[in-house]
């Protein structure tokens, strides 16, 4: 009797919480389709009375297409850079002997927990002196290599047997070719996890783009949205909700398709 009643209660509680958790997203999307007048109404309406894309039209009258491209370019390049450069270094740390290896890994590990708050001012000074302030490369360079990425790839390559390396040597494959031809093709699962985490981190990144971008040509989506939301006296929620939808919806769609990879990626990095 008790055993049968308990799952029902669990279901009810979980369902209530699920509704609470996803309501903000539903409210965001519905709100982005409402007219300005309907958004100001008290009490608020649930379903848009005259669904309209006018908020999105107004959004793209500002250069939001540009911001979207900036966000996408930065995220793609940062992700590619982390996959390639961290797998190279991670493999070397896992399987090769070379001078300075211990000390280099030590420095990387020491920086694993250092927050962006500590580094952003010297990074800004550096970028200004390189003549790169307010450029797309400035958004990319400090994130192209990240301690966490190399840590993850090293752990992954440690799990792939050394025998493959020995066999490659016996077959006369060059040292570099052993990495690119034998080990790299096996890195798919690690690439999926690292790729998702890096892309998300870059797409949602805020502090550094806020510091280094100073004009519409380099704003990313979160920076543009934050500046609009804090810049006005009269808050234009139609525009803001459309902007939030533009940032969240593409990630949401990809997530729903590949949710297993997302969630397992987080779980495996969590347990180690």
């Amino acid at each position: 009797m008790i055993e049968r009643r308990r799952p029902v209660l669990t279901y009810i509680v979980l369902t209530v919480f699920l509704l609470l958790v996803i309501t903000p997203f539903v409210w965001m999307i519905l709100g982005s389709l409402k007219t300005q007048g309907e958004l100001l109404r008290t009490p608020p309406t649930w379903w848009p009375e005259q669904p309209t894309l006018d908020n999105f039209r107004r959004l793209f009258e500002r250069p939001f297409g540009r911001y979207f491209t900036n966000s996408a370019v930065v995220a793609v390049v940062v992700t590619a850079g982390n996959l390639v450069l961290s797998s190279m270094f991670g493999y070397a740390l896992a399987h090769l002997r070379f001078p300075g290896k211990r000390i280099l890994f030590g420095i990387v590990l020491a920086c694993l927990m250092i927050p962006g708050l500590v580094t952003f001012i010297p990074q800004y000074v550096l970028v200004v002196n390189m003549g790169l302030a307010n450029t797309i490369p400035a958004l990319i360079l400090p994130f192209l290599v990240q301690p966490f990425s190399v840590f993850l790839m090293r752990q992954f390559f440690l799990g792939i047997p050394r025998e493959l390396l020995e066999a490659g040597r016996i077959d006369g494959v060059g040292e570099i070719a052993i990495f690119f031809r034998i080990y790299l093709p096996l890195a798919g699962p690690a690439f999926a996890t690292l790729g998702i985490l890096t892309f998300l981190g870059s797409w949602n990144n805020f502090l550094w783009p806020l510091v280094v971008s100073s004009s519409e040509s380099t704003y990313t989506l979160p920076v543009a949205l934050a500046l609009i939301s804090t810049g006005q006296n009269e808050t234009d929620y139609g525009l803001l909700l459309a902007g939030a939808t533009l940032i969240v919806l593409p990630i949401l769609v990809v997530f729903l398709f590949f949710q297993r990879h997302f969630i397992q990626g987080i779980a495996t990095t969590g347990i180690k």
């Binding site: 669990t10 699920l18 996803i22 008290t42 740390l93 927050p115």
Partner: protein, 311 residues
């Protein structure tokens, strides 16, 4: 076969020579593969970490940006300035409250969700897991905008729903007493999915037979949770505790978008105030504030490791 036949005296040193030649090739390959990462890392991360510390002991300002080495050392003056600044003290207090409320709530919500899903809720388990995890993947700036809309005093959804059950709505973000609490609630909503997923993985380590045996001996659910589940997931608990604390100690986007630090500095965070000092051009002071946050992160992490390991 024929090429490998070598004269007797040379054969003794050949393997050694081959090994050292291979060692040379291995070292060269290792350095070559490490080089691009290491160069970028030293220039854009390791050196800025060091420079930031040096900067925090100098009078560097925005006017020194072209000659960052032509500055004067001022000892601990920037740190004293930070401690004497009432706004920074308020920011530190707000950050402490945010962490002390947010971290336990995030862990409790995540653990409760994980345990509920772990009990086996059948096919719907995947649906709940995806739903609870969804806020984690979203941009904090975007969801902060949405939450500001939800929390509007006149026609926000939260006050509307409270009105249905006869509760007078609050001016959530405009009232000193509720503004920071509102940010904490949003942060818990945004982040508990991460801890849930990690706890779900950690709960695999719990021995179900032990649970059944304890239940037969008359232990109730709470006793079993305390004496079996918690000890089994201690490493996971530590990991979630440390990573959540590190994240919350740096909270920035939430007040930036939702309250701009107000009303009356009641939601300004240490990160946000550091950023505004940078905006004013006080690089030395901002550097000192950033290092103070980092110091607190390091201490909190160490203490948590100690506490969790001893038991």
């Amino acid at each position: 076969m024929t090429s490998s036949t070598a004269p007797a005296p040379a054969s003794a040193s050949a393997p050694a020579r081959r090994r050292s030649r291979r060692g040379g090739a291995e070292a060269r390959a290792g350095l070559l593969l490490a080089l691009p990462f290491v160069v970028l890392f030293l220039v854009f991360t390791a050196w800025p970490v060091l420079q930031s510390m040096i900067m925090s002991f100098t009078d560097m300002r925005i006017s020194d940006i072209r000659s960052p080495f032509a500055v004067n050392f001022v000892g601990l003056q920037n740190y004293l300035t930070a401690f004497e600044d009432p706004v920074f003290r308020r920011a530190a207090l707000n950050t402490a409250v945010f962490v002390l409320l947010g971290v336990p709530l995030t862990i409790i919500a995540g653990l409760a969700a994980a345990i509920a899903l772990d009990k086996g809720v059948g096919k719907l388990r995947a649906v709940f897991r995806v739903g609870f995890y969804t806020p984690v993947i979203t941009s904090i700036v975007a969801v902060a905008v949405v939450w500001r809309f939800l929390l509007q005093p006149e026609n926000g959804l939260v006050n509307t729903v409270l009105g249905w059950v006869g509760i007078d709505g609050l001016h959530w973000l405009g009232d000193q007493r509720t503004a920071l609490l509102s940010l904490v609630i949003m942060a818990v909503w945004r982040n508990f999915g991460t801890s849930m997923v990690i706890f779900l993985a950690g709960l695999q380590a719990v021995d179900r037979q032990l649970h059944e045996a304890a239940a037969l001996d008359g232990a109730n659910a709470w006793q079993r949770f305390r004496s079996i589940t918690v000890p089994s997931i201690r490493p996971t608990l530590l990991f979630v505790l440390v990573t959540t604390s590190i994240g919350y100690l740096q909270f920035f986007e939430e007040p930036f978008v939702m309250t701009n630090g107000g009303p009356l500095n009641s939601t300004i965070s240490a990160s946000m105030y550091t950023y505004s000092q940078f905006g004013f051009g006080n690089y030395g002071v901002a550097g000192a504030m950033a290092y103070l946050t980092f110091l607190v992160i390091a201490i909190v992490t160490l203490v948590q490791f100690r506490l969790m390991r001893e038991k």
